[in-house]
């Protein structure tokens, strides 16, 4: 049981940067950024290849930089060339497939054998301490490292969204007319926002890549939908207002999702292959919820209306009968 929890926490924190990225692009900027899938693999590829070359630590910021470049291309297509935002993401995502293969040396997967990763470095450092506590702690090295990274990143993003540039980015998703009237260039704020979001996605990919010591060209498939599911699960638990709760929701949602995943995996109530379908259904239902609620309310109104009509006509008829 503890093992399940540990795995869930590890994966939850490792993947948490994806819902955080989607919080920035989908909630703050109001853009569904489909660059995410390819960007995740890009981050993983850069970080694994750098680790392979003996630079695991350098691989992380480089992966983020690569992710920011991918975000920049999507933003450029959208803001300057006026390609609709969803299509911009899909175009970048498609192009990234080739870029990712290129990064991975034209091979569809790459693995780390004996090369060190940021995780193995921390694990060894903890073991070297030789105190009982530290050695025990070394079991939890992945949780420690990934949670520290997530917490630092979350705090930085929260601080950033309170700055004048951050406020401008939030206003861009809220009211574009007002942004133009406040001398803010929306093309600039959208670009900065998408660069940051994709740097986060790539950071997640980079951490996951070194954690699993492998990267596969298809490992990003469906990441964007899973990320959205995490965000929505988190928002249901934590709430959406005030807006900074969104970041906490992203992290909590990611962990809860991975706990569900782990439980399904170990108890085998469902074949694991079903998870993506269930995830897709959860996301579709959650996003469709307001429309569904409205439809039911309307049907209820219609039924009450027709019952009211019937009642009215029957009393009329009985009235006539009396005469």
């Amino acid at each position: 049981m503890l093992y399940i929890l540990k795995t869930a926490l590890e994966l939850g924190f490792l993947y948490a940067m994806v819902p955080i990225a989607l919080f920035i692009s989908y909630r703050v900027l109001d853009i569904a950024d489909l660059t995410t899938d390819g960007c995740f693999v890009l981050g993983a590829a850069v970080s694994v290849m750098m680790a392979k070359a003996g630079h695991p630590i350098l691989g992380i910021p480089l992966a983020m930089l690569a992710g920011a470049c991918a975000g920049f291309i999507t933003a450029f297509l959208h803001t300057k060339l006026k390609v609709p935002s969803i299509l911009s993401g899909i175009i970048t995502n498609t192009g990234l497939y080739t870029i990712n293969l290129m990064v991975m040396g034209w091979s569809s997967n790459q693995s780390l054998l004996k090369q060190g990763t940021v995780f193995s470095m921390l694990k060894n450092a903890l073991k070297d301490q030789k105190t009982d506590f530290m050695v025990k702690l070394s079991d939890w090295y992945a949780v420690i490292l990934s949670s520290v990274v997530v917490i630092i990143v979350s705090l930085l993003i929260l601080a950033f969204l309170g700055t004048r540039l951050g406020l401008s980015i939030r206003a861009t998703g809220d009211n574009l007319d007002m942004v133009r009237a406040s001398s803010i260039n929306p093309a600039f704020t959208i670009t900065v926002g998408l660069c940051i979001a994709n740097a986060m996605t790539a950071l997640s990919g980079a951490m996951v890549g070194q954690y699993q010591k492998t990267v596969d060209i298809n490992s990003g498939t469906g990441i964007v939908v899973i990320g959205l599911a995490c965000l929505i699960i988190g928002e249901t638990i934590i709430g959406r207002r005030p807006f900074f709760k969104g970041i906490i929701a992203a992290v909590v949602g990611s962990i809860v999702y991975r706990i569900i995943y782990a439980v399904v995996l170990y108890t085998k109530v469902l074949p694991v292959e079903f998870l993506k379908l269930i995830t897709a259904i959860v996301v579709a239902l959650a996003i469709a919820f307001p429309a569904i609620r409205k439809w039911f309310a309307f049907q209820g109104k219609k039924i009450r209306h027709s019952q009211g009509e019937k009642a009215a006509s029957s009393t009329n008829e009985s009235g006539k009968g009396d005469k």
Partner: protein, 265 residues
């Protein structure tokens, strides 16, 4: 102050839907002018505002503001020196952000002295509080609340404050009280007059209220078919009545008023 010289703008040129919204349009405003603008729908009032604010670039002619040629300056750069308000109270503010954050954004228009990474300071908050209390709506005690919770009138008053927070060279008001109830509209108009006078802002206001058009400001334009057909100020304007204006409208446009709303009040 403001010069529009031979400005022309045609929408959908070369198609059956081609519409010449402004043709050879020229206008000059002096520093401190407060112009009220009336005209029927499609007369080109809003198009003129859009041309000045930079929503689109004009086909030909030039636009100068305070000696600076702004003809090809992008909209977000023009908004540093031009404040603008719309009829729709939802257009001027970001609903999910707090009053304080909205005001901080309005401050960006000063364009200097702020690093993009600076936060809202306590001194900023103090200043926001003072400015909000001038509105007399109690908003200074609700600075942390999202703007979406405010009423239309409150949002419009806040937008006015934001548009004039950094004193603009030119303020464009596009029927900014038309969507408000009469009492609130009066209040927003009073605030407008007060702020414009105190800061000596050059201002243009579109209105459908003939009486208002004559009472407020120092000059009135009557527009029709993309042209100013009647431009009145000074003594002639002070003697003008609503009925005179209606007559001018008939003569100037060759048609009777097609908008009942203008005749009311």
């Amino acid at each position: 102050m403001l010069d529009l010289i031979n400005v022309s703008m045609t929408f959908n040129p070369g198609t059956p839907n081609a519409k010449t919204a402004l043709s050879d349009f020229s206008v000059h405003l002096d520093d401190g002018d407060f112009v009220t603008i009336i005209g029927s729908n499609g007369a080109g009032k809003s198009t003129m505002f859009n041309a000045i604010a930079g929503t689109f670039f004009v086909d030909s002619g030039s636009i100068k503001l305070g000696g600076q040629d702004i003809t090809y300056l992008p909209e977000h750069k023009r908004s540093r020196i031009i404040g603008r308000m719309f009829q729709d109270p939802l257009k001027g503010t970001a609903p999910s952000m707090s009053i304080e954050e909205n005001l901080a954004l309005a401050y960006l228009r000063s364009g200097e002295g702020f690093s993009p990474f600076s936060h809202i300071t306590n001194r900023d908050k103090q200043e926001f509080r003072e400015k909000l209390s001038l509105l007399g709506m109690g908003l200074e005690d609700r600075m942390k609340q999202p703007v979406g919770l405010l009423s239309g009138g409150q949002r419009q008053a806040l937008t006015l404050l934001m548009a004039t927070m950094v004193t603009p060279k030119l303020l464009l008001l596009d029927e900014h009280t038309a969507a408000l109830d009469p009492g609130t509209a009066d209040k927003v108009i009073e605030l407008t007059k007060k702020i414009v006078e105190e800061n000596h802002i050059t201002c243009m206001m579109i209105t459908h209220n003939m009486k208002q058009a004559l009472e407020i400001g120092n000059r009135t334009f009557l527009m029709s078919n993309g042209k100013v057909v009647y431009d009145v100020k000074g003594e002639e304007r002070s003697k003008l009545t609503v009925n005179d204006l209606l007559e001018k409208f008939k003569v100037g446009t060759g048609q009777a008023l097609d908008n009942d709303r203008m005749l009311l009040s």
